[in-house]
Symmetry: C3
Subunit: 219 residues, 3 copies
């Protein structure tokens, strides 16, 4: 069923890198929320493994890599340990979360799309699942700490870079051009797009004729 | 494994209708919350596909229809586009959400129960999974926007119409009377029950001896 | 695939006991939140079945026991009915939730680890999934009622007793000493550890150098 698009080592290295940076973003958020050492570890694990777990359940890769690969489980704990001792000042913690989160988004949309296609999904579905893999861990993290996920709330187009990255990978697959180089370009493009969107406050439009004078919400 | 209870076209049409109305309800809530165009699309997708995704994972239909059928993926985006341009005034948005949500509830409890039984679950489990399919998307939507789901909070018996509809379908299967007509009756009954419950404020009882004078919660 | 570690009756009895106590904890929380009778039933079902459902999806036990076993479905409804009529005074409800939740935690970390190993996971992964099974229902319950899960917020080390219990079971499996007696010891140890942690306010450390004078959170 699984036809290798990458040398397995490359896929594994990209996966571990994505897990590490997402775990760091999760652990930093836990520090900001004043959680204790176990809360930090849990939030690191959930952020790092949530997206891939969802992807593996959808494509029927059972047991999911999160429970099958010991390195996938240990890496978030290492990231949590580093953050526990070396987290930045609270004032700079949000910026650090954004950078690590952007890196995770970039790595996971590429590996997610690739793995989904390798398990037999169509190109559109693979790209969609790649986006879901990339945003899934962050959504789970935000739901657990009781915030509306960046995916929905963030006016700086959280999903768009992932969408671009996944689409690039899907096109590379379609034209049989997927290799470590083109994948790397997709990762870097996604990462930079996300950082630029945050830096320059790129805005997506609100609903047509929705006057911004209307109060945020009165349910 | 799959024994057709319906002509496939009927099942597919009911599924698409349910996806469309749930997506509309999700997109309207996103407009009320002042999310941007991508937030509207995401909430439409999650509301429309969440319940069916859960059902397909439980019955082992992998990959789930949400990722296997392109039409299931495109329909919520169309609904999101329509809502983006044509949403009602904010004051009337809640009523519109309720009507579309009731229609989704009605369609999904019928198709959910039918599909669960077709994949080999027992009658009780099929009805239970039908209810879960019907309420799942709405629960996910409410969790994402950081509200307690209607399923729990709504004093107007959110789950009861779905329970009635699923039970009607399960009984029809038991007596070999399931066909497009009886399914249609189950859909309409569920839809009307939900609207009547909202309109006339039908109330389910609180816990025995729970004095309402007690403050809502003091954790 | 499934190699019996226990006589099936023992596993089933432990499962039902865990489902019953978790359902009671969920129903009590629903009463505290002033949900109606259907909200109480739903929260009992979700709390009792959520963790096991997650475990079964991860190990590929489809359909999950929650939908395959009628007794797993009826037990939470019985617990909800009992709580509906016999819930304690609101002032004492939190303590009751803690005791029932601790019992569920203890029972589920043992049965979760055992079932995961029986389905072919490694020892570390089995222990991890045992913890996830034990905490999963409570996390889902807390997310649904819009609270940050005890797992993250609770300074009294919510996850640690489950970790101890799951590790004990994994070690028993490794040394071929798993039997009803050693499992019972693991259950009791976990239960007592959790109650002691609550009673004596055992605290896990916050992040290094995180001055507690810093305000809780300023996102």
């Amino acid at each position: 069923m699984f036809n290798d698009l990458f040398p397995p080592g490359v896929q594994h290295a990209l996966d571990l890198a994505g897990i590490f940076v997402f775990a760091t973003a999760g652990a930093l958020l836990a520090v900001r929320k004043n959680f204790d050492v176990f809360g930090i570890a849990v939030l690191a694990l959930v952020t790092a493994l949530g997206g891939g777990l969802f992807r593996d359940l959808v494509i029927g890769a059972v047991p999911p890599a999160a429970f099958g690969e010991l390195s996938f489980f240990v890496t978030p704990l290492i990231a949590a340990g580093i953050v526990f001792f070396l987290h930045p000042e609270v004032q700079r913690i949000n910026r650090a979360i954004n950078v690590f989160d952007a890196a995770g988004l970039a790595l996971f949309c590429v590996t997610g799309t690739t793995k989904a296609y390798a398990y037999g999904l169509g190109l559109t579905a693979s790209a969609a699942l790649g986006v879901a893999t990339a945003v899934g861990g962050g959504v789970l993290r935000d739901v657990l700490v009781n915030e509306v996920p960046s995916l929905l709330r963030d006016r700086e187009m959280y999903a768009v870079p992932a969408l671009v990255g996944s689409t690039m990978v899907a096109l590379c697959i379609a034209f049989e051009m997927l290799n470590p180089l083109t994948s790397g370009i997709a990762v870097v493009t996604t990462f930079l797009l996300r950082l630029l969107a945050i830096r320059f406050h790129w805005r997506a439009p609100l609903a047509w004729n929705r006057r911004s004078s209307v109060s945020e919400e009165t349910p």
